[in-house]
Symmetry: C2
Subunit: 348 residues, 2 copies
């Protein structure tokens, strides 16, 4: 989607990815190599004006190596913090963000001690390589600590209080090379089996919006951030607790393709190439559903007014995000009607 | 732009074009061959579910040859009518459309007779291969008939009354395989040196819109048309005179990328692949300027809120359409302010 957003701006994208027939390789030239292949990185970097990433598990060393040849945005330090839940939590606290009670856990003894302090239910997450609900488990009974410790692979982890949140909301925004920032409205997310299912603008929350933006600006300033960034929060009443951040364009911002004056993809390209950020004002009202594992027929989606189908060129596989549908309308009642039609297609 | 609109719908585009480094070849696989290369046409057609074109000077014989292997939309008959101003005028009259007085001219004698009947000023246009003001000349003085005849190359031509129109307006719309139609609002066009410069929605003309759509529906039905079609009209007061039509996505509809719920490119893909047509409702207010011969810096465009830059990946050349800028806003006064900033970049 970055490559597609780049063409109209005459920004040509080239990718490096170890995968075969990746979505990006279907729309832009691709170098197929490991992320840490130094020759491939050098080739990519020396041919490029600027480098970026849209996957937060790119090795930090690869980003640092590439930075010797071309500017890398977002900064590798952001990648580093995002890859380690302990560093992430420390960063959140450093910039004044509230976070759920947590404990670092490197052994079963530390897990027991953590459960003692935090109570249960609690969530045990590996510090590294967590993605879409993989590498985490909920501990409802302290007696199951040993089993939980085995389930996460007995690797350095973090134990977090289970927050009985009202909603999970996320803020997507960008910071330009000049330090200017721009944010989209908070969206409310629904997950199923740990996978993002639906994102809709959170309604009537100007105070929350302001607080979320304050947190995000502080985080971005601390990292000297450039590019699009997403923060996921737990909302409990009028409070926001930082859950995690992603130093990249984010699934919960895909609705901006139709629903905002500047899509998050164009915004990211503007930021990393040093252009002025675009307006993040809403265009009507939008809601977005992910297509997971299977996709409805294009004909069924096309028959719904205001429904926009986006397929990613991926082979279907259970649990895999294959695309999304954004429903868009000029007013809320029309959106609600269209949204019903969209969700009726997600028959699972 | 068709290829870019296709990716999210999982519609993959492949092109055939004799040109080197064409805009399309930068975003989709391309076969480089003459339009009438029968081997290349067969390769393209047998690998495709459906064929279309976005250039009305594709040889009709090539479209007919390809139609042996795969459906071709719009129908080759539409291409044929659009390539000959005499056939086009006859078609317009057959479906009840008013046209300016005209005469077919195949000799200097016929030109003289035509000028006698129609009067001057009049416009002499070659019947074939007219494009962006090439192959036509205005005759203001009947004494210059010989020179005008030489200027158009002494080929079969059409002499048209010079219409003192209030505006040139165009209607862009689509007809699906099921016969359903959908139209965007009329836009008003400004040309310079015969090249489209600016397109803006025509204001306050519901009666004209209805009449234009009636004409377009009749034309489409007559041709059993499938795809996006544009008709250019001369508006004089409350009257519309048919000028010409284009059986393809059209420059005066480029604003629909941001300014309508479904862009003309997605609409064309929906039509030719047999999907339901999308909503052509407006998204806010838009205006579009072509970038001719040179382009402003991306930084200057990015600094204007609501301005969307579209570059076509073409080498600059005087008189060449290199891209366009669409200005978009939620209300007319904001659009007017943004539009002033956009036009200030077109310093020629």
């Amino acid at each position: 989607m970055l490559a597609l957003a780049g063409y109209p701006l005459d920004i040509r994208v080239r990718t490096l990815d170890p995968g075969e027939d990746t979505p990006a390789s279907q729309v832009a030239p691709a170098i197929r190599a490991a992320f840490d292949d130094s020759g491939a990185l050098k080739t990519l970097a020396t041919d490029s004006d600027v480098l970026t990433f849209e996957f937060e598990n790119v090795p930090v060393q690869a980003a640092l190596a590439a930075a010797r040849y071309a500017p890398v945005f977002p900064p590798p330090a952001a990648l580093e913090a995002a890859q380690d839940r302990a560093a992430e939590k420390a960063l959140f606290e450093r910039v004044g963000m509230a976070v759920p009670p947590y404990a670092l856990v490197s052994s079963l003894e530390e897990l027991d001690a953590g459960l003692e302090r935090i109570g249960s239910p609690a969530v045990l997450k590996t510090r590294r390589l967590g993605y879409d609900g993989k590498g985490q488990t909920v501990i409802r009974d302290p007696g199951l600590a040993t089993a939980a410790w085995q389930m996460v692979g007995e690797v350095p982890s973090i134990l977090e209080a289970f927050v009985p949140f009202d909603a999970e909301v996320s803020l997507v925004g960008a910071r330009g090379r000049d330090g200017d920032t721009s944010f989209y409205p908070l969206v409310e997310n629904e997950h199923r089996d740990g996978i993002l299912r639906i994102s809709r603008p959170a309604e009537g929350v100007p105070a929350l919006q302001a607080r979320a933006e304050t947190y995000a600006r502080a985080l971005m300033a601390e990292l000297d951030y450039v590019g699009v960034l997403a923060i996921e929060f737990f909302r409990t009443g009028e409070d926001l607790l930082g859950n995690e951040f992603a130093p990249r364009v984010h699934n919960t911002g895909h609705w901006t393709i139709e629903g905002a004056e500047t899509s998050q993809f164009e915004q990211h390209l503007r930021a990393v190439t040093g252009l002025a950020l675009g307006s993040s004002a809403l265009v009507g009202y939008s809601a977005m559903a992910n297509l997971i594992g299977r996709v409805p027929s294009a004909a069924a989606v096309a028959a719904i007014p205001g429904a926009h189908l986006h397929l990613y060129g991926k082979a279907p596989r259970p649990g895999r995000k294959l695309g999304h549908i954004t429903a868009q309308a000029d007013d809320r009642p029309t959106l609600a009607a269209r949204w019903l039609q969209v969700t009726a297609l997600l028959d699972d």
